[in-house]
Amino acid sequence: MNGEIIAFCCEHSAYAAADAAGKQGLHYPEKLRVIRVPCAGRVDIIHMLKALEEGAAAVLVLGCEDGLCQHLTGNVRAKERVKYSGMLLTEVGIDGGRVGMFNLAANAPHKFIKIIKEMNERIKKQGR
């Protein structure tokens, strides 16, 4: 990889929002690579760290809004894992902000765009 942003997208919310963004002609940086998951709670720490190890600039986990997860706790668990990953990264001297968990709904493509662009700005500032 060469500075891509990997986004694990929950199929119920973020993936649908990404589709809606495309349909509405809303553009975002080409470096985004989406990996579809059934729930943000499927994403494990090893997945996030592996992505960074392979050369990703940043990793996003995008799940349903707080209180909206169809599996009740998936988005909550994902958030905890992302936080833990961030801690691990910081411990080894890597910016923990390069992994982030965000919440959105299927009908919120603008929020999807905002999240991607903000992470992109962050990594650009770091020179990635």
Partner: protein, 543 residues
């Protein structure tokens, strides 16, 4: 069997001009296990289906990769097509090169398209078939709670051919209808008779549910009936356990007594054949501590109108907001006012004090902009609608979350109207919150439809081993069992000594939380396994 992959690329009528399809094909054709790479104009239409069909059959492939529009819409159709072609639908891998590639970016996106397809290709190599089979389910339903909701649900279930067992903790059926004898007495009797007459309904009174194990189609329920314990199996469970109302001690400075009563007490008084002296002035008060309930408005309007009709007393209602967001209530509100019921809306809680054997209310009327002092013969106190006794206990027995007010059913819009996070367990009526009659009726019909849909075929189609805990690796640490939000995992004994986690394919909702959380990485979620996800990660940037 060695992987033999067929790749279909769709250029959406030739409109995806920022992808160089011939170049993408060139890159993919070189791959060893790829039998062919076809470019099509429109895989979603009949033409495309024919192309996929003929190629798949003639080339004898065992993996299909399709790069086209979003799987949200086309995945199900392609999966169905594969099934028709005798290829397991799980051997399909999709790349979204339209909505999330061509349409999402300016300029040439050939590189990204190729990477997305490579992600799908690398995942496809690791895909395994997932078989489906029908599992028999118990066709009987358990209805817990013999009030209006429980009785009506049982009657409607039995009309649709489901045999319900109705469990009621009191010695008789009727629930809250008993309190409203004077208003609904005849209806209550008629309903109880109908339930008793219905052969399909088994009635167990003085009985309580004390334990629920198992899963949808196969719930093992322990019922305590008087001193005995009964063990029964049901396909689905409907809780219609109702609510309670309470006058919270702190809300009223004066104690309940002869002239400060509850709505229930007033209803009883109104139903009594004669009353020595009907009160001249009655005050209703609500919204003192909890403003977010329909119940006080509904009870007040009904009782106020009954008071006007039977006693002709002066009636005053003190509240913050009249809750009219239920069918017919605005009309009831108008009728009450037309009949002379006075509504005074306060911002700050009124002061309530004793006044020579009567009750004095001092309130600021926000509409008049004045302070009002009123002395009533009778005051009907604010009653809160609360979860019924035993809700907390039962919800921990069921391992199900309650909502922020303590009622059953988590406040998650995906669960509405009547579902819970455990498949096969449902909640109807006021046990899940503050509902008016219209909403209660909709709940009942909904649960009946859903239970009928689930149980009447007598079997449910499941994916065999979509999510499976490897008995070799599982150490029975119970982590997955605790983490599964759908309570779909239990420990089973597989041989003389070993106990391992088993994921019920009936109850599993395929979220993958267990697969992520297992410390031994013993759980494989086919289609989203660790190696299938890592393969996608590793495929990025390799071009």
């Amino acid at each position: 069997m060695p992987v033999k992959m067929g790749i279909f690329l769709c250029n959406c009528g030739g409109s995806l001009k920022n992808i160089d399809f011939p170049k993408v094909r060139e890159n993919l054709e070189d791959l060893e296990d790829v039998a062919f790479v076809d470019i099509s104009h429109n895989l979603c239409l009949e033409e495309g289906e024919k192309a996929i069909t003929s190629r798949t059959l003639t080339e004898n492939i065992n993996r299909v990769v399709i790069a086209a529009c979003s799987p949200e819409f086309c995945e199900r159709n392609f999966a169905r097509l594969l099934e028709k072609l005798r290829l397991n639908p799980n051997l399909l891998s999709l790349a979204n090169i339209r909505e999330q590639c061509s349409w999402a970016h300016e300029g040439d996106v050939t590189r990204k398209a190729l990477e997305l397809i490579m992600m799908a290709v690398d995942k496809a190599r690791l895909l395994q078939p997932v078989e489906r089979k029908e599992v028999a389910v118990n066709k009987e339903a358990l209805v817990v709670g013999g009030g209006f909701c429980g009785m009506k649900s049982s009657l409607e279930l039995s009309q649709l051919g489901i045999r319900p067992t109705l469990v009621e903790r009191e010695p008789t059926l009727g629930g809250k209808l008993k309190e409203l004898e004077g208003f609904y007495g005849s209806q209550r009797e008629a309903m109880i008779k109908a339930v008793e007459k219905e052969e399909n309904i088994e009635i167990l009174t003085s009985a309580e549910v004390i334990g629920v194990e198992g899963k949808i189609g196969d719930f093992r329920v322990r019922i305590r009936r008087e001193t005995k314990e009964i063990l029964r199996t049901f396909g689905a469970i409907v809780f219609a356990t109702g609510y309670k109302t309470e006058i919270t001690a702190g809300d009223f400075p004066l104690k309940l007594g002869i002239n400060i009563i509850s709505q229930k007490r007033l209803a009883q008084m109104l139903q009594a054949p004669t009353l020595e002296a009907s009160p001249e002035t009655i005050g209703f008060i609500f919204d003192l501590s909890d403003e977010n309930s329909r119940f006080p408005t509904l009870a007040t309007l009904n009782n106020a109108l009954a008071v006007k009709q039977r006693w002709g007393s002066e009636v005053y209602v003190f509240c913050k907001n009249v809750k009219v967001d239920s069918e017919g209530v605005e009309k009831l509100y108008r009728e009450a006012r037309e009949k002379g019921v006075m509504f005074l809306k306060f911002d700050e809680n009124p002061k309530i004090s004793a006044d020579d054997g009567r009750v004095r209310i001092d309130a600021g009327d926000t509409l008049l902009g004045e302070e009002i002092a009123l002395t009533c013969d009778l005051v009907v106190a604010e009653e809160k609608l609360l979860p019924a006794e035993g809700t907390e206990g039962l919800s921990s027995v069921l391992k199900i979350r309650t909502d922020s007010q303590g009622f059953y059913q988590e406040e998650n819009v995906h669960l509405y109207p009547v579902s819970s996070e455990r498949k096969g367990i449902f909640f109807v009526g006021n046990c899940r919150g503050d509902l008016d009659l219209g909403r209660v009726l909709a709940d009942i019909s909904s649960v009946v439809a859903i239970v009928h849909e689930l149980l009447s075929p007598g079997k449910i189609m499941v994916e065999v081993e979509r999510v499976k805990a490897d008995p070799q690796k599982c150490v029975a640490c119970l982590t997955c069992i605790r983490a599964c939000p759908h309570r779909a995992i239990q420990l089973v004994q597989i041989d003389n000594e070993k106990v391992v986690a088993e994921i019920s394919q009936l109850a599993c909702d395929k979220c993958g939380i267990c697969a992520a959380i297992c410390p031994a990485k013993a759980i494989k979620f086919e289609g989203y396994s660790d190696d299938q996800i890592l393969a996608q990660i590793e495929a990025i940037g390799v071009s």
